[in-house]
């Protein structure tokens, strides 16, 4: 393409004027070997003390770059993988894992302490390109007050959701833009099979399921059971969210209630696992490795639950009492092999979109 020769000619000329500006980038850039940069999605959260302790122990300074939803963050990382914005990426989950691996986003690194991580979480255990960090369950949550007031039993399973008594009650997220939305669709595919899930969604659509773009909108605007949803006048008592949402409702409430105002429909869950990995062209690979080791250290694993509302994956890491009391992990969540997700995800999302949204 002649664009390239054109650019080559233009570069020498136009950039003279910019070179003065460009040089100022280095003082905050990730080039220094003492700074390790973690790239993640917008939901990444941690206690400052815990990170400080790591900085002190390891001698690396940590810089965190957060952008967008999980899916967007992964895609942006893939697009910039030749010259990545950081050293470690955290936040690719099992639904998108294959996209990251197939695009060569990560380089292998076997983290110290991996032997304490449960085998069921290790989805790349031959090559160790990613390290499991946390897990959670995507499940339908219900508004307890609504169901007791109307004297209806809350739904327990996927099958229940298409029954007439739950008509126009459920709000879910767009599977192409939201990871709980996608997880829910994959859950139905795991339950009803490669062909059966479409028929299920036809029934769900006929039963008045509402689709919004993101989890925040669904949970904090449409769902009548959350504190914010109540304020916003949300009128859907069923929402696709997480098994850890009820404890979050308790932890954030002031004063704390005796019991969680919301519950989880145990038969509607899909297991989500989040991973971190050392980026292929990381400029500070040593720092990156130390950071990944830290992410599966007991200290970080025990700090995680009340910051991100996820479960630790390391054996022996204590789960906070709020979790066990208000929202135990799903007993028997649907799971799906990453290869199967890789093979079908894009096609399923496409069919789902034309089936449910158009």
């Amino acid at each position: 393409m002649h664009i390239r020769t054109f650019v080559a000619a233009a570069v020498g000329l136009g950039l003279v004027t910019l070179s003065a500006c460009g040089s100022s980038s280095d003082d905050t850039g990730s080039g220094g070997s003492k700074t390790v940069t973690l790239v993640s999605h917008g939901s990444f959260a941690y206690s400052k003390d815990v990170l400080k302790a790591f900085e002190k122990e390891s001698g690396f300074k940590v810089k965190v770059l957060k952008s967008g939803d999980a899916g967007q963050a992964v895609n942006q990382a893939i697009l910039t993988k030749d010259n990545p914005q950081g050293d470690v990426f955290f936040g690719v989950d099992n639904t998108l894992l294959s996209r990251a691996l197939d695009n060569g986003l990560f380089q292998p690194y076997e983290a110290k302490g991996l032997d304490k991580v449960g085998a069921e979480y290790q989805l790349d255990k031959d090559e160790h390109r990613v390290t499991p960090i946390d897990s959670g369950d995507i499940c339908v949550n219900y508004d307890k007050a609504y169901f007791s007031k109307n004297k209806i039993e809350p739904p327990q399973s996927f099958d229940d959701l298409v029954k007439p008594e739950y008509k126009d009650l459920l709000v879910t997220e767009n599977a192409s833009t939201s990871s709980p939305g996608l997880g829910f669709v994959l859950g139905t595919a795991a339950k009803y099979g490669d062909d059966g899930w479409k028929g299920y969604w036809e029934k769900l659509k006929a039963n008045g399921v509402k689709v919004v773009d993101g989890w925040e909108q669904a949970y904090y605007q449409e769902f009548s059971g959350s504190t914010d949803g109540k304020k916003a006048g949300g009128d859907r008592p069923l929402v696709v969210s997480y098994a850890s949402s009820p404890p979050a409702e308790v932890v954030y409430a002031d004063p704390r209630p005796e019991t969680a105002p919301t519950g989880v429909a145990d038969g509607t869950c899909f297991r989500q696992i989040e991973f971190a990995g050392l980026l292929s062209n990381a400029s500070n690979a040593e720092g990156g490795k130390a950071l990944i080791d830290f992410l599966i250290s007991k200290k970080f694993q025990e700090d995680m639950p009340l910051n991100m509302f996820v479960y630790p994956v390391v054996e022996g890491a204590a789960v906070p009492a709020e979790f066990t009391e208000y929202g135990p992990a799903a007993k028997d969540p649907e799971i799906m092999a990453p290869e199967k997700i890789a093979e079908n995800r894009d096609q399923w999302v496409k069919s789902w979109t034309s089936l449910v949204l158009k």
Partner: protein, 565 residues
């Protein structure tokens, strides 16, 4: 905004033709002036956009052009194309319907507070789409003002989108059409009346033909802006409605179907090129000599019940359509006692950014300032090169400068990330990336403001100076600069305001620890809870005030009315 209509206003007499022997040095000088703007657009526009398209359509070294047919044959994509066109047509029609009476009132009536009102209707145009989306959510969304009062909710309906588009583009029509209308000599219509024509016939035969090209140009600009609508549709449309621009964003950022995104980028590119070509054609058709007079001579106080009623109707429209959404925004930002949301902006506890949200104000001002300087240099050089009318090459150059207004900002933003990542152009982590992207949108405004004024400078003055031995630089300083100083300031103001509000590209390249105002607003909106929502409203209000002040200053500067926009 006005694209070239003042060229018409100022062109009729035309600068004296330069003697032939000067023509050759003139064209060499023009090429010299064009080098930097062309290089700038090559490196920071063509290169990133091409990189994204190539990335999407080239697999393992071979072009996969079959994808184009595949994508265009997809029923979902065809639905997007249909909706994009349909909503742009309806938005344009609605905007004309609602804004043309406004254009008339601003052109022909004199009333107190007119200058301020003119600035008020322009505020939406420079507001970030995120803020507009938010304002309309606060008005017609769940729990919004209309919902509270009457239980009326328009979110996730096409009506919210259309209303927001009219809100946005009202100023385009009022300024483009109204500006010319104010300069049309009313005596021509009066003469027709005297010769026995009815008021309607006189208007239809005299005023309408003179106005029609300006209406067409305004309509095309509204069509262009609504055709490429992003933030508004993203926020108000929900998952069901998607314009081409939103679909490009979804395909790239969410579904990661780069080939589809690349095809859609090309489709949008072609569509925008067509719109601009038609626009250029209508502009050229307008270059028929019109009798233009000073705008201050044509306006007078309204007379009679009909005219007062018209003025009243326009004022009501402005209040309901423009002031109400902005007012609701301000009201929501004050919802917490003791300016609580504004105070919260100074704390960095939220964990959303690594800094207190209020720092976004400083970042935005700094970026916008840098972007303004870049846009002035590039746009100023380009305008100087375009001053002397010339052939097709220059006209092509002219159109090139307009393209960034219509080409997906999302594509540009992603393109920056993947194209400007290697030495000597490794700008990934440099702050200059943001002003560069913003300057791309600012340049067209600079060119459009400067060009008519530069063209109005009598060539003989320049020649006289040159004959007396002045260097080209001295000619420019002594002849051109004093005449264009004011236009330069106006151009700077618009470049500044547009840079402040740029969102589509900035959202991809602004660093997490250096958010701009619009990016901070979007992040806060995407977060749960009253406090974040309130902070988003407070930041939007700050941004709106900064834009409004910038515009009021511009209105003061623009007393000579040579350039509308």
């Amino acid at each position: 905004m006005d694209l070239a209509r003042t060229e018409v206003a100022k062109a009729p007499s035309g600068p004296a033709k330069a003697p032939r022997r000067r023509a050759r040095t003139g064209s060499a000088a023009r090429l010299g002036l064009m080098v930097l703007p062309v290089a700038f657009f090559g490196v920071f526009f063509a290169h990133p956009v091409a990189a994204i398209v190539v990335r999407g359509l080239k697999a393992d070294g071979t072009w996969d052009l079959g994808r184009i047919g595949e994508v265009l044959g997809d029923s979902g994509i065809r639905h997007v194309l249909w909706f994009t066109t349909w909503q742009a047509l309806v938005s344009t029609a609605l905007t004309l319907l609602i804004a043309l009476p406004g254009a008339y009132v601003f052109a022909r009536f004199d009333f107190r507070g007119k200058d301020i009102l003119r600035a008020v209707v322009t505020v939406p145009f420079v507001l970030p789409t995120v803020v507009v989306g938010t304002a309309f959510l606060a008005l017609v969304g769940r729990g919004g003002l209309f919902d509270e009062l009457w239980g009326v909710r328009l979110d996730t309906t096409v009506w919210a989108i259309l209303l927001a588009h009219v809100f946005f583009n009202y100023a385009v029509v009022v300024r483009t059409v109204g500006g010319l209308w104010a300069q049309l000599d009313p005596r021509q219509e009066e003469a027709a009346r005297m010769l026995g024509a009815s008021p309607l016939a006189a208007w239809r035969k005299v005023t309408l033909p003179a106005l029609a090209p300006a209406v067409a140009a305004a309509a095309l600009m509204v069509f262009l802006f609504t055709f490429t609508s992003f933030g508004v549709v993203q926020i108000l449309g929900g998952p069901t409605f998607s314009t081409l621009e939103v679909e490009i964003y979804r395909q790239t950022s969410e579904i990661f179907d780069l080939p589809t995104a690349a095809v859609l980028t090309l489709v949008q590119f072609v569509a925008v090129g067509l719109i601009l070509a038609v626009h250029a054609w209508t502009v050229r058709r307008r270059e028929t000599a019109l009798r233009l007079v000073d705008a201050s001579l044509t306006a007078r106080r309204p007379r009679g019940a009909g005219q007062w009623a018209l003025l009243g109707a326009v004022l009501v429209t402005v209040v309901v359509l423009i002031l109400l959404p902005l007012g609701v925004l301000v009201e929501r930002s004050l919802d917490a006692p003791g300016f609580g949301y504004y105070k919260a902006l100074t704390s960095d506890d939220s964990g959303i950014f690594l800094v207190a949200p209020i720092e976004a104000v400083g970042n935005s001002l700094g970026y916008a300032l840098a972007a303004t300087v870049i846009a002035l240099v590039i746009g100023g050089l380009a305008a100087a090169a375009l001053t002397r009318r010339a052939g097709r090459l220059v006209r092509g150059f002219d159109a090139l400068l307009m393209l960034p207004l219509g080409v997906s900002a999302v594509t540009v933003g992603f393109g920056f990330l993947i194209a400007l990542d290697e030495p000597p152009l490794d700008l990934r982590s440099s702050w200059i990336l943001v002003p560069l992207a913003q300057a791309l949108v600012g340049v067209p405004f600079v060119v459009r403001t400067m060009l008519p004024v530069l063209r109005a400078v009598d060539e003989r003055l320049r020649e006289a100076a040159a004959v007396l031995g002045a260097s080209p630089w001295r000619v420019w300083r002594e002849v051109d600069l004093p005449m264009v100083r004011r236009a330069l300031l106006v151009a700077a103001g618009f470049a500044f305001a547009v840079s402040l509000g740029e969102f589509g590209a900035t959202v991809f390249i602004a660093r997490a620890d250096n958010p701009t105002l619009p990016v901070a607003v979007a992040r806060l909106l995407g977060r749960p809870g009253d406090l974040n929502y309130g902070q988003a409203m407070a930041l939007s209000t700050i941004l709106m005030v900064v834009c409004a002040v910038a515009l009021l200053v511009l209105e003061r500067l623009r007393t000579d009315r040579t350039g509308e926009f």
